[in-house]
Amino acid sequence: MSEAKRVLLVEDNEMNRDMLSRRLQRRGFEVGIAVDGAAGVEMALTGGFDVVLMDMNLPEIDGWEAARRIRAGEEGKRVAIIALTAHAMQGDREKALAAGCDEYDTKPVDFERLLGKIAAALGGSP
């Protein structure tokens, strides 16, 4: 058994956090939680996470800005970032990728699809 992959969930909505973290844990992920952009950047840069699930619609420092700040840091260059947004607007995906995210998905989350994207972002490594 390889070591559990570590996922950082950056999400300000409590129910989203609860639901998504539990579902990820059930699938064997180790889940870290940040409730806003600043904490997300801090944890992503120091926590040794493999994947960041970044809600884009955060107060103060929003997801795009947080992604940019993560990418600006040393450890942040290695971590995979998947943007999540309930806006689901055209151009959101491009904006997310431009901000340094590797993938993008919409809420409500299609969980199986999200798992596929996480696996892809992890580069197929088990």
């Binding site: 989203n16 689901a88 809420k107 989350v109 969980f111």
Partner: protein
């Protein structure tokens, strides 16, 4: 930060987030079910189905390319009612069964909570939508948060700013009142419990001031202090919110208050605009209206704006028409003056006939003229002590009792025509077995005399004559009177250039039972009559329009469209030949006027302009070459 988010994006986020919760928790519960647990699987699947239906609606209604209108959101709320009900039904049945275990029950309550957020209670989707005729006010609403506690202020500020609102804060009542005086706010969020000046006092001051009383106020009270909230609402507050804030309620109530405020603002602007249109109407009546002075109102996109634009255009065209007529009449005055100079002996030649009193009332002063049907005299009406024209009618014209009766009724109608371009008909009386007619005395010359003197008139003069003739016909036709004998001889021009049509109704005298065989005997010339009249057919108002066409043709060219040696030959040509174009005779005639005359001279009434008003409008639109 808010620069990244569009209004529709915000709305999508708001609506999709609870769906996300519902789907996520439901899927988890489904994962936990034993494979054979169909009794729980069915309601959970029902929840998922309903959630996906809701999502479909959200995506369909909140189209990314469109700015969402209040109506859109209202429609979405209405669409979500049904899936929401299905979710709540299924989840409540699962909760009440109490057989899924405590942790599942907790997730079911979360689903229920999310379902309730999908469509806040109290949304009235049946209320009629506000007509969105005005462009929506795109300025972000300005909200003032009044709270003595720093954290509360910042929390509210953050939340409201995320809604796209502009937020200012005040830490006490005095500061709040000063800010409201200085700046325009769309909403005040007011904490009740504050030291020194509390929320009640602030509310009282806001509502007591005319300048601020229309700003909606939402009061913030502790959850257990409903009494205070009620007292505030009784004192004019729009709504209340209890602490701790429910973000959905906050958003809904703030949004509703601002929408209402904007609707009121629009309503007030609407009323002000309508008042300015009414004022403009009064100004037109008073003759002081300046065109274009409705500028701001006319730019409105709604019905009042349309009204203002139409109104302004009408006032402008009326003014232009008056101006044009004024200029044309002035040109005509010059022609009249010249014609008078050219025939200085005209009046002296008239045979004077003095002294005789008719019907004991009209004293003959002088003879003004003699025509085919009788003579015209200047007479003094001794009862009213004013001069009138008195026209004697040849006895033999009235031998036929049917003709006489028709003539009398026509004169009764003609007496009703009151118009500056119509010679007023006064009385019909009997004189030595014959009849006479008294009418307004016009000091002037006939168009016949003018044309004979000047040969042809300029375009301006012809237009002035045509316009005034058309105006006269509009008034007469409105009274049901057709002239039947419009010709230069019956058109009087006074020294001011005003044209007056005389002998309305008199032409009835020359009508007999047959048309063509006798017309040459009765009427001096059929040159001005339309084919249907010559043929003895029923005539209507369009006969006068044909005659007006001949008058215009003659005034412009100095000749008649048809000419022949004998009346019978003339009638034959008139019935068979197409009239020549005025422009071919007189090249200075503008093309539009030429085309109009050709239409007036159409053999078939249906091919002519159909009303005198249409003729008048067409003439008004013609610019001299």
């Amino acid at each position: 930060m808010s620069g990244r988010t569009s209004a529709v994006g915000e709305l999508r986020h708001t609506f999709r987030t609870p769906v996300n919760h519902i789907v996520g928790y439901t899927e988890m519960l489904l994962e936990d079910l034993p494979p054979d647990d169909e009794s729980h699987r069915a309601p959970l699947k029902a929840i998922l189905d309903a959630a996906h239906d809701a999502l479909t609606q959200i995506s369909a209604v909140l189209v990314p390319s469109e700015t969402p209108a209040t109506e859109t959101v209202r429609r979405l709320y209405a669409e979500l009612e049904e899936p929401q009900a299905r979710i709540i039904r299924a989840v409540t049945s699962l909760i009440s069964a109490q057989d899924l275990g405590e942790s599942a029950a907790e997730d079911l309550r979360r689903i229920l909570h999310a379902a309730e957020q999908l469509r806040p209670a109290g949304i009235d989707t049946d209320a009629p939508a506000e007509p969105e005729t005005e462009p929506a006010d795109t300025r972000p609403a300005h909200v003032l948060v009044v709270d003595d506690i720093e954290d509360n202020r910042q929390l509210l500020k953050r939340r409201l700013e995320r809604q796209g609102l502009t937020v200012s804060t005040a830490e006490d009542g005095k500061r709040a009142l000063a800010m409201v005086e200085a700046e325009a706010f769309d909403l005040v969020l007011l904490d009740i419990m504050m030291p020194e000046m509390d929320g009640f006092a602030v509310l009282e001051r806001l509502k007591g001031n005319k300048a601020t009383r229309d700003i909606p106020v939402i009061v913030i009270s502790a959850l257990d202090d409903v009494a205070s909230a009620v007292r505030c609402i009784e004192n004019g507050a729009e709504d209340f919110l209890s602490k701790p804030f429910d973000p959905v309620l906050l958003k809904a109530r703030v949004g509703t208050s601002i929408t209402k405020k904007r609707a009121r603002d629009r309503e007030r602007a609407f009323i002000e605009s309508a008042e300015s249109v009414a004022a403009a109407a009064a100004a037109v009546e008073a003759g002081t209206y300046r065109t274009g002075s409705l500028g701001a109102v006319a730019r409105r996109g709604d019905a009042v704006g349309r009204l203002a634009r139409v109104f302004d255009a009408m006032a402008t065209s009326i003014r232009a028409r008056e101006q044009l007529l004024h200029e044309r009449v002035r040109a005509l005055q010059v022609d009249v003056a010249r014609a008078r100079e050219a025939q200085p002996g005209a009046k002296a030649d008239a045979m004077p006939q003095t002294g005789e009193r008719i019907s004991g009332r009209y004293e003959i002063i002088e003879t003004l003229g003699r025509g085919g049907m009788g003579a015209v005299f200047r007479a003094r009406d001794s009862e009213l002590n004013e001069e009138v024209a008195l026209k004697t009618l040849k006895r033999d014209s009235l031998n036929d009792p049917a003709v006489l009766e028709r003539f009398k009724s026509e004169i009764r109608l003609a007496r009703r025509i009151t118009h500056r371009n119509v010679v007023r008909t006064h009385d019909l009386g009997e004189y030595e077995g014959g009849y006479y007619l008294t009418m307004e005395l016009v000091e002037g010359i006939t168009l016949r005399e003018l044309i004979d003197t000047r040969h042809k008139l300029g375009v301006e003069s012809a237009l002035a004559i045509g316009t005034q003739l058309a105006d006269a016909l509009v008034a007469a036709h409105a009274e049901g009177v057709i002239h039947r004998d419009v010709k230069p001889h019956n058109l009087l021009l006074d020294a001011s250039g005003t044209l007056k049509v005389m002998d309305f109704g008199v032409a009835r005298l020359s009508e007999r039972s047959a048309g063509i065989t006798e017309v040459g005997l009765v009427v001096g010339t059929p040159a001005y009559m339309p084919p249907e009249q010559l043929l003895g057919e029923e005539v209507d108002a369009r006969a006068d329009l044909y005659s007006a066409g001949v008058v215009l043709f003659e005034a412009l060219t100095g000749r008649l469209p048809f000419d022949a040696g004998t009346p019978m030959l003339l009638i034959a040509r008139l019935l068979q030949e197409e009239a020549p174009r005025a422009r071919s005779v007189e090249p200075s005639v503008p093309e539009e006027l030429d085309a109009l005359i050709a239409q007036l001279l159409a053999k078939k009434p249906d091919a002519r302009p159909q009303t005198a008003a249409a003729l008048r409008d067409r003439l008004a639109g013609i610019a001299p070459a």
